[in-house]
């Protein structure tokens, strides 16, 4: 095992990889700082640009982005009360009051060190869990893999904060789209309407660029004006004492990191739940709960530690089962597919060195972004003054051109535009996009496993009842579907 850790480490410690890691981290900070962009958009735009890169370099770049985004989001959350990413909204609660009291440096320093430590604790957890996950996935054959895909869709739907029905609909639509093209099991062309481009199916990366980057740009263009209102007089002092505060409140860091790790390992739950859960647990554990919301430094440390720990641990369901931990991970699945790595059980066996390289890249980026983020805090805050009417056309042009660059096919541009519009309508009518991505990624594999299972059992569905892992998965599916029907109606907490 140590050999694999070191191999992963070695792949990262080369000039080229480190350069791309740094570049990704800077892009992550940039995209994280601008509300409305975030990690999913950054990865969607970057994925086609990695086409010519070897998998290690592409993963270093992606790891850099994912590690940089949370710190970027925290900077604008603290300084401007405008969280760059949804999970950073929890940091606003105490971070911005601290900034208003002239203690922005203290809050930023604490956020940076909590980010870095959270990332490291998350990494340690992943390194401990991965070997166990590897043994577990060896128990999976076609029937289990089929049920796992179904379970994945249902988990992500039920995790969509009280939008199970709409999540399932989005997943169903995603599956219908995934059926387009040549079916290698039956040798039949399906749903192509005579368009030759669709023989290979709907290309995943252009679709993801549309669903995330372009859809967000449509939304941003309708909003108009500057992204944040005032980045004027931000005073940043005493960052060093902020760095030390994190060590002084080490139980908060540990608790936040553990919350982030556990929440991250549950598919589809996402960083917002991790950061708010960590925050509320810290408030409950505090002897002075009324001080929260008014500038308590623990209110900054708790969510920040959770966010980065979550980023590491959500790699587990994403890589092992192809079920993303959040939108960013959903787009990351597309990057893996582009580089010939099919997420799922076999990934943990066939691409171990790449996985460990990615984990180190993500950790390195978390730590690096914390310190570079402190240096760049002021210019990053000013980024939010960018006029969306300038930003939107440029990002849209890069997105469409990026989708063309994936495999130099102009048809990709149309796919991106169509999925951009579809993605906008999904935002507008409140349908979660993650379930659609999961369906697009897992759709063809699910169908292949369904057919292979039918062949194994001569079409007898009872095969699913005679295998232990299948039974466990079936019970999981039944419980998840039944849960909303037996639960008492409750008012749900909505994320800001």
């Amino acid at each position: 095992m140590l050999h694999l850790w070191l191999s992963g480490f070695q792949t990262l410690f080369q000039v080229r990889q480190l350069l791309f890691l740094g570049l990704g981290m800077l892009m992550g900070l940039f995209f994280g700082a601008i509300p409305g962009l975030g990690g999913a958009t950054a990865l969607a735009l970057l994925t086609p640009l990695t086409y010519g890169l070897d998998p290690f370099t592409a993963l270093a770049l992606a790891g850099g982005v994912m590690g940089g985004v949370p710190m970027g989001g925290s900077i604008t959350a603290i300084l401007l009360n405008a969280p760059g990413t949804a999970p950073s909204a929890a940091t606003c609660l105490d971070g911005h009051p601290l900034a208003q009291q002239g203690k922005a440096g203290l809050a930023l320093g604490a956020a940076a060190s909590a980010n870095a430590i959270g990332g490291i604790i998350g990494t340690i957890s992943v390194l401990a869990i991965l070997p166990v996950a590897k043994d577990l996935v060896l128990l999976f054959g076609p029937p289990e893999l089929f049920l796992l895909a179904v379970l994945g869709l249902i988990i992500v739907s039920t995790a969509s904060r009280g939008k199970m029905l709409r999540g399932l609909i989005a997943g169903g639509l995603g599956l219908m789209i995934a059926f387009i093209g040549y079916n290698d099991i039956t040798g039949v062309l399906r749903f192509t309407t005579g368009i030759q481009y669709l023989w290979d199916g709907v290309h995943l990366v252009p679709a993801l660029i549309g669903l995330f980057a372009v859809a967000e740009m449509i939304q941003l263009s309708l909003k108009g004006g500057p992204i944040a209102r005032d980045a004027g007089a931000v005073k940043i002092t005493s960052m060093a004492s902020g760095l030390l505060e994190t060590f002084r409140h080490w139980p908060t860091v540990i608790r936040g990191s553990l919350v982030g790790t556990v929440v991250g390992a549950i598919p589809g739950v996402g960083g917002t739940v991790a950061s708010f859960l960590s925050y509320s647990m810290t408030v409950r554990a505090s002897k002075n709960p009324e001080s929260f919301g008014k500038g308590n430094i623990q209110g900054v440390i708790a969510p920040e530690a959770a966010i980065n720990a979550k980023d590491c641990s959500c790699l587990i369901p994403t890589l092992a089962f192809g079920i993303p931990g959040g939108a960013e991970m959903a787009v990351f699945l597309g990057l893996l597919v582009l580089h010939g790595m099919q997420p799922g059980p076999l990934m943990l066996i066939d691409h171990q060195v790449e996985i460990y390289g990615l984990i180190w890249a993500l950790t390195g980026s978390c730590v690096l972004a914390s310190f570079i983020g402190l240096l760049l805090a002021r210019p990053l805050a000013r980024l939010t003054l960018l006029d969306s009417q300038i930003l939107v056309p440029i990002v849209t042009a890069v997105a469409l051109l990026g989708s063309y660059a994936v495999d130099r096919t102009i048809g990709n541009v149309v796919v991106t535009a169509v999925f951009g519009i579809l993605g906008y309508f999904m935002i507008r009518f409140d349908y979660p996009r993650i379930t659609m991505v999961v369906a697009l990624v897992l759709g063809s594999a699910a169908e292949r496993n369904f057919h292979q299972t039918s062949m194994m059992s001569d079409g007898n569905l009872s095969i699913y009842l005679h295998r232990n892992v299948c039974l466990v998965l079936l019970i999981g599916i039944a419980l998840l579907l039944a849960a909303p029907l037996v639960r008492r109606p409750q008012k749900l907490e909505t994320a800001p």
């Binding site: 399932l168 219908m176 009417q389 008012k491």
Partner: protein
């Protein structure tokens, strides 16, 4: 706005459109051999049921509220935030860029789109629009053509395949 079962009619549109699309999908699926349609047909029927549940859950009837509480309690209201004209405009600009890219290629489409978007949509001055369009096109060309070595599409009218 006209209401049906206590809910604005626009609320029903997404699920209704999905229902129609799925019916077309199912009709197409049934033209394929049994093995090829087996899985798509199952999914199609499931989506039809889900779309029907979605329509019912959006209504302000007793059954609608019960479905919503059980299956969609966290769903947000979908009242129009932006005017239909603005939304259609945003999509037309996107469609125009895609069409321009296909017709005249990257090196003409990108500066034209950026300039037009900044000048007419963003209401920037002529000079600002010109220099931002030129600088962004230069940056895009540098990134894709020089750094990534992507052969930029020449456009249908200029021999692009």
């Amino acid at each position: 706005m006209k209401k049906v079962f206590g809910t604005p009619i626009v609320e029903y549109i997404p699920a209704a459109v999905l229902g129609v699309v799925t019916i077309v999908f199912l009709a197409t699926a049934y033209t394929y051999p049994a093995e090829a349609r087996a899985f798509p047909a199952v999914i199609g029927w499931v989506v039809i049921v889900l779309a029907a549940l979605d329509i019912v859950s959006r209504s302000e009837t007793g059954m609608g509220r019960a479905f919503k509480n059980a299956l969609n309690p966290g769903s947000a209201a979908t009242a129009a935030t932006y005017s239909l004209r603005d939304q259609a405009g945003a999509m037309l600009w996107l469609a125009a860029l895609a069409a321009l890219l296909m017709a005249v290629g990257v090196l003409l489409a990108i500066p034209l789109y950026l300039f037009a978007s900044l000048r007419f949509r963003g209401r920037k001055s002529l000079i600002t629009s010109l220099w931002i369009a030129a600088a962004a096109t230069g940056g895009i060309w540098l990134l894709f053509a020089e750094v990534l070595r992507v052969e930029l599409y020449r456009g249908y009218f200029f021999g692009g395949a």
